[in-house]
Amino acid sequence: MVFLVILANTGSGKQAWSQDHSMLIPSRDSISNPPAKEKGEGKFNAGDMIMEHVVDNHEWHVAEIGSLELTIPLPVILLYKGQLYCFSSNRFHNETHSYQGFRLGNEGSGKGKIVHMESGINNISEPKVYDFSITKTVLAIFISSFLLMLIFISVANAYKRNKNQAPKGLQSLVEPLIIFIRDDIAKSSIGEKHYEKFMPYLLTVFFFIFFNNLFGLIPFFPGGANVTGNITVTLVMAVFTFILTTMHGNKHYWVDIVNTPGVPWWLKFPIPLMPVVEIIGIITKPFVLMVRLFANITAGHIIVLGFVSLIFIFGAISTALGLGVSVVSVAFMLFMNLLELLVAFIQAYVFTLLSALYFGLALLEPQHH
């Protein structure tokens, strides 16, 4: 984002602004709908722009310099009526936004959604199109997973190479984090007895979230994808935590849920009020995990994008006003980005810590009174 704003700031005059401004118009509109681009040149929709950057996409818009679009088309993989369709998302770049009978939604609630022409955009009763496309987020997950493997396997090799030595280089960068997770999260929440079992999951979750949070802050190609701010990603991770918690729940854990101790019997007996509350609690825990991470990261992205939008909104009124606001906006964005660096760590920490706490609860031994 900062990158785009710097470009916007270097431009002067109405022409320069409109040129920069076009960069921020969603690429799909600008390419596949040329008349709209010309028409919409003076109009800037901040909401659309922000959503465009925050949600998933079938292509990865890298940059737009003048009329030159830099977009990475991503593979579309569809399962429709038991048949697999595979093609590049480039194929949708035509007048009708359709290919092989599939149509990429262009506006409104169906935007970015692939439907079959037979069913129409709003009619969902028709056979559903299962979209297994490698979207922007999927690609970002692959890239970050690959980088994480690269980093940590090389670190692991460093550990193997100099056994019982002081850490060096990358090793000393990640070692405090690993030890922090082991000692302050896993050991203190789960306990000495069982913590080792959960270490691979906790470490992976922590570094996956932390790394993707940081990557999301980078405005350029390999970064910039809102991975941890995507509810699907957080959902999957929360479900993992839920499954692990449920799998490892001991007798004490389940007994406490069915027959909550320290509660009057009439809350449990004719109407099982407490068990119901406890069962809701089991579901709420991962749900909160999912929402917290998603909301924090998405909110951060939206705020930063909001500051960018401010420049163009004021710029549309008057160029000078736009330039004036840009100074304030950039300052706030810098502040927000720094804050997001902190949030990136805190959210990764919180997710890991809460997961560990839930595991610890599931494995809690009954206390002897």
């Binding site: 997973s145 193997k160 691979p200 999957v236």
Partner: protein
């Protein structure tokens, strides 16, 4: 794409990628890393313990040394004391012996002096007796020729004896 509606495809890919990531990192990264961290910690712990133990041993050794030294000192003092005592005793004994010897020598000297004196006296007596006899013979030889003078001489002699 919707903001708060999870997408099926993404769930699929994310689950797949995440499981793969957990598996690969768990096997090739976390396991060796955690293991070597643990190993390093135990080795540091052991090294520290060993150092502590060595320090403790050193302390004990030093204490032992001191004890030994003290003991040696005590021994030395005891030996010295004994030696002093023995020396005193020997000196005392020597003194006693010397005194006895001296007394014995003195006594024997006295005895021999006495003996000599007695011998001398006896000899003197004998000599005197002899001389008296000789004298008497001379006198007898000379005076017996004149009874008057003999008488006078005897009287004179008797007077002399009286004075004696």
């Amino acid at each position: 794409m919707e903001l708060i509606t999870p997408g099926l495809g993404l769930i699929f890919w994310m689950t797949l990628a995440f499981l793969f990531l957990i598996y690969i990192l768990g096997k090739f990264a976390w396991k060796p890393i955690l293991q070597s961290l643990k190993e390093r910690e135990t080795s540091i712990h052991e090294a520290l313990n060993a150092a502590n133990q060595a320090r403790e041993e050193m302390k004990q050794l030093r204490a032992g040394n001191e004890e030994l030294l003290q003991e040696a000192k005590n021994d030395r003092d005891a030996i010295l004391n004994e030696a002093r005592k023995i020396k005193d005793k020997i000196i005392e004994e020597a003194r006693l012996k010397a005194g006895e010897e001296a007394a014995r020598i003195v006594a024997s000297a006295k005895e021999s002096i006495n003996n000599e004196k007695m011998a001398a006296m006896t000899e003197l007596k004998n000599q005197i007796a002899e001389s008296s006899l000789t004298l008497a013979r001379f006198i007898l030889q000379r005076e017996l020729s004149d009874p008057k003078r003999q008488e006078e001489y005897v009287r004179e002699l008797l007077k002399e004896i009286k004075f004696n």
